[in-house]
Symmetry: C2
Subunit: 250 residues, 2 copies
DNA sequence: CAATCGTTCTCACTCAATGGGAACGGGATG
DNA sequence: CATCCCGTTCCCATTGAGTGAGAACGATTG
């Protein structure tokens, strides 16, 4: 912008401001936002002020900043992801009722797995994922499915990039990951024992739309010692249902 | 911005761009957005392009623009409204199961009633509201509740401003509206027969948080000839439950 | 084949955005 | 009570980022 030393556009900066909010950090001061978005204090305060005026952000009684309702309102116009979620909910509820463990729906978003929904019951075990949370593709069972059935380009990009270790058993060796992906593609589902947390195993299957394209991954998080077959049966059935439900709406 | 003839900030313009999306218009061309946001074509194309790059907007195969998933992701960080919705869901589901008509949760947003959730069944009658949709405060039963239990300042502002007629029986006379609001405040609930649609009656009750402040309105849309008492009982009970659920989380 | 519409690119102009700094106030610490 | 720290607000000279008219291209339509 005019006189900016950093050379980024106003849009960039506004997005950076919004992106300082994370699933765990939902309220912050304007100064914090400025530091995290790497903006001079006065600029940050001004931008935050403008966003508050517009309703995209909100300021509560103690002057701290939150994401505004208007943003939620706009997001609900986002047909695509929400239609998928809507179509998936009934099937997901059945899976959750039968298996009684965390049931999750994830899509590919900017080279990560983005979780659209997660249903849990009181008996469900440990789980780090959250709604609107992200996990690296190579580390989660859902991610493995999205990777294995995604396009080659994406696969190579991930295999080339750094493979972060999230737990002791995460696959961080490109060759090993490549073999694993081939296995997932061949079997039609992914099992990720201890990739994220030592105590649990993720099981994921692809969800296809009417054209056969994989649009999402449906997964459950089982205890490490559980048998996966019953879950697999349920997941596959649910995935087929969701695909059918998607077809109707076109 | 530099050289702008209109004298609005970049933030304003970006918000205007985003605001061209409505519940019924979820995909549009960049040119359309420009026209609706009142921006010169080239500027609109540039801004839209930047928003697409940032992920807030998305461009599909035929180059048309949609709200991006990133916006949904950010919105989910918006604790406030979603916590309310979360707390309300179980109770709302029970109301919907018993009364078998549209059950809705609305909050006050920029002088309008914003609907956070709406549960409907196959037998439910006609209804114009949508999730993330808005209605004028004076025209919907939820709005009447939010007005009657909101602060004086808001009430006077609405009474002073233009009162749009949405149906034959909408209250558009300030004096009549004032009387109606007094009645709502005295009774503790609002009944709006034919204010929105001639065939239906809205019934709404206030939802209070642990401090007693009215934070939302819970409503059902009945057929015009239905008796309202059973619905009222359910609504009041649900509202109390929601208030209690809100308390736990603080 | 002409007309319309969406989109992309260019480019000279200029004023809105910028950010360093000063000042205020509240809260914590010694 | 004084001092320090931090978030916030306000001011203002500087300047380059944003702007928008217009040209050009391609796709669609009649």
């Amino acid at each position: 912008m005019a006189n900016s030393t950093s050379g980024d556009s106003v849009t960039d900066r506004l997005v950076r401001v919004l992106s300082t909010f994370t699933p765990t950090r939902t309220v912050q001061t304007a100064a914090e936002i400025g530091r995290r978005a790497d903006l001079p204090s006065s600029t940050a305060h001004r931008l935050v002020g403008e966003l508050v005026d517009s309703g995209l952000l909100e300021r509560d009684d103690d002057r701290r900043i939150r994401i505004g309702v208007k943003l939620w309102e706009l997001a609900t116009r986002s047909s695509h992801a929400l239609r998928l979620r809507q179509a998936a909910m009934p099937s997901m509820e059945r899976v959750q009722a039968r298996i009684r463990e965390h049931t999750q729906l994830a899509i590919l978003e900017q080279d990560e797995a983005l979780f659209l929904e997660r249903l849990s019951g009181p008996e469900s075990g440990s789980n780090v994922t959250r709604i609107a949370g992200r996990l690296p593709l190579h580390a989660a069972s859902s991610g493995l499915v999205l990777l294995a059935f995604g396009d080659r380009e994406l696969r190579e990009r991930i295999l080339a990039g750094p493979l972060v270790r999230t737990a002791a058993e995460t696959l961080t060796d490109p060759a090993a990951l490549r073999r694993k992906l081939a296995e997932v593609a061949a079997l039609g589902y992914a099992v990720a024992p201890g990739y994220i947390e030592a105590v649990s195993t993720g099981v994921a299957v692809p969800v296809r739309d009417e054209t056969g394209t994989v649009v999402a991954a449906l997964s459950v998080v089982l205890r490490r010692d559980a048998v996966i077959e019953p879950a697999l049966v349920e997941l596959h059935r649910a995935a087929r249902e969701i695909g059918a439900a998607l077809g109707y709406r076109r």
